[in-house]
């Protein structure tokens, strides 16, 4: 199936699942109709219920689902649709109270009726889930703890919502209708359970070993992994894998890192890791020989999926990692196509992999434009940040025929994408990957 057809198929399937509860609840026998506001409140709650269930599928990393759009976009969509579902669920009690103000008392989490209580708790679980997601960094909640709380609160909210529907015994009073609702939720939650329970069962048979952890410039490390007792994995340049360095693949401590080694070489894999968070700041102390587990490859940020006469890459900081893998692969393939790399870094002495890029320059038609924020004395290259004026100085005139790839900190990516659009580069010729989500 072509990427576009696949993309359209999944959008249609998504809508079908989201609207399925409404269709089912319209089928006779139905409870007596109520006021428009009361029925709208119920309709929004059913849509939000299905949306909440689909959230589990969105984060289950199914390649068929993620490939047409890119996994970073799917994760962002998960975030946005989570907020939409939360908003719709909030309107459920609000509309009921507007319709019949006497119902306000039912919102008391300890009071209410047997039917409304689980609904209230589901709503409060979602309030907590949303607050923790939006304020994770501000309240200092670790990424792993957040992930566990996020999944548990989501599951609790979904279960309680089903309890509310069952005990309210109105629309789902017919057994087959409630069965359809439960089946939709159960299937979607099962897709997530596969990621957390099924996949690790396979990973445990394909362990990896840390072969080396090498210090690079700018608090960046090269993490080298070797397969233990298997052939390793095949990947496309620019893709990434979730790397877990815990004793078991069932651990929630795993992080996405781009392959910085060549897709043509193997089975050794290399990842560029910058000291940024709780986990990565400890990467330098990882001993060679330690067990590792991989979930991958993932991602569609690859020139193999975007053929062009030439490429323009924009890297910021450790955003150089996928480009390193892409350039190493191109060099191993003897790829003659021209590549222009803009590489933004705070300081010249802290610019990781510049020696590796110099070597690659001898094997490829590669031009590197370093853009240094605080350049050393006597620096004659570009300084500051990548903007439209800088692009005007360096972008080739046939730029429109090239494919543009952007990876780096979000402000840098925003600026580059805007500058490219301002220079008339069509959106279809700009690819980017973002992972700053919570």
């Amino acid at each position: 199936m072509g990427r576009t057809i696949e993309g359209v198929f999944w959008v249609a399937a998504y809508l079908a699942v989201i609207l399925a509860p409404l269709a089912v609840m319209m089928v006779s026998p139905t409870p007596p109709g109520r006021s428009f506001l009361a029925e709208l409140s119920v309709a929004l709650a059913f849509v939000a219920l299905a949306q909440t269930a689909v959230q589990f599928l969105l984060i289950a990393r199914y390649r068929h689902v993620t490939a047409p759009y890119g996994i970073d976009i799917i994760l962002k969509y998960h975030r946005e649709m989570g907020l939409v579902a939360f908003g719709l669920l909030l309107t459920h009690p609000i509309l009921l109270v507007v319709d019949r103000p006497a119902m306000a008392g039912l919102l008391d989490p300890l009071g209410g009726t047997a039917g409304t209580r689980p609904g209230n708790w589901a709503l409060y679980a979602l309030v907590l889930l949303v607050v923790l997601s939006l304020a994770r960094k501000r309240i200092g909640l670790g990424y792993e703890h957040w992930r566990v709380s996020h999944a548990l609160l989501g599951l609790a909210a979904l279960g309680l919502a089903h309890g509310h529907i069952h005990l309210s015994a109105r629309y789902a009073a017919t057994a087959w209708k409630e069965g359809v609702l439960i089946a939709i939720s159960a299937l979607l939650v099962a897709s997530f359970a596969w990621l957390r329970l099924g996949k690790p069962a396979f990973q445990i048979r394909r362990p990896w070993r840390v072969a080396a952890v090498e210090a690079e410039r700018g608090r960046t490390w090269s993490l080298v992994l070797e397969p233990e007792g298997h052939d390793g994995i095949a990947f496309r340049p620019g893709q990434f894998a979730w790397v877990c360095l815990s004793r078991t693949p069932y651990s929630v401590e795993e992080h996405p890192f781009s392959f910085s080694s060549s897709a043509q070489a193997g089975p050794r894999l290399e990842f560029a890791v910058e000291e940024l968070g709780d986990f990565t700041s400890r990467i330098g102390s990882v001993e060679p020989g330690r067990r590792a587990w991989l979930d991958g490859p993932h991602g569609s940020f690859s020139p193999d999926r975007a053929p062009a006469a030439g490429y323009v890459f924009f890297a910021g900081g450790v955003g150089i990692a996928p480009f390193l893998g892409i350039l190493r692969t191109m060099a191993d393939r003897g790829d003659p196509r021209p590549v222009l790399l803009f590489y933004g870094s705070p300081r010249w002495e802290d610019t990781p992999y510049r020696e590796a890029l110099e070597e690659l320059g001898d094997r490829l038609a590669l031009t590197v434009v370093y853009v240094i924020e605080e350049p050393p004395e006597g620096w004659t290259g570009e300084r500051g940040v990548i903007d439209e004026a800088l692009l005007a100085r360096h972008l080739p005139r046939e730029g429109i025929e090239r494919m543009h790839f952007v990876c780096g900190p979000p402000p840098m990516m925003d600026a580059v994408e805007e500058a490219l659009r301002a220079r008339g580069i069509p959106r279809a010729r700009i690819r980017s990957e973002r992972f700053e989500l919570v």
Binding site: M26, F36, A43, Y69, G70, I73, S432
Partner: protein, 56 residues
């Protein structure tokens, strides 16, 4: 750039969901319901057994 498409897709999805919810609310407030074809055929089945449809 795909973010632009993402925002548009989100907007369209939300519009479709709200549209469906409004349609449901209107139909239900009028006490309308969909009758399953299975139920209809079950009701009509005995009559169809003995009688040939007109025109055959």
């Amino acid at each position: 750039m795909r973010r632009i498409y993402l925002y548009r897709a989100t907007g369209i999805m939300v519009a479709l969901m709200l549209g469906a919810a409004l349609a449901f609310a209107w139909a239900r407030s009028q006490d309308m319901a969909l009758v399953l074809l299975v139920e209809e055929s079950r009701i009509e089945a005995p009559a169809a057994e003995g009688d040939e449809p007109a025109g055959r």
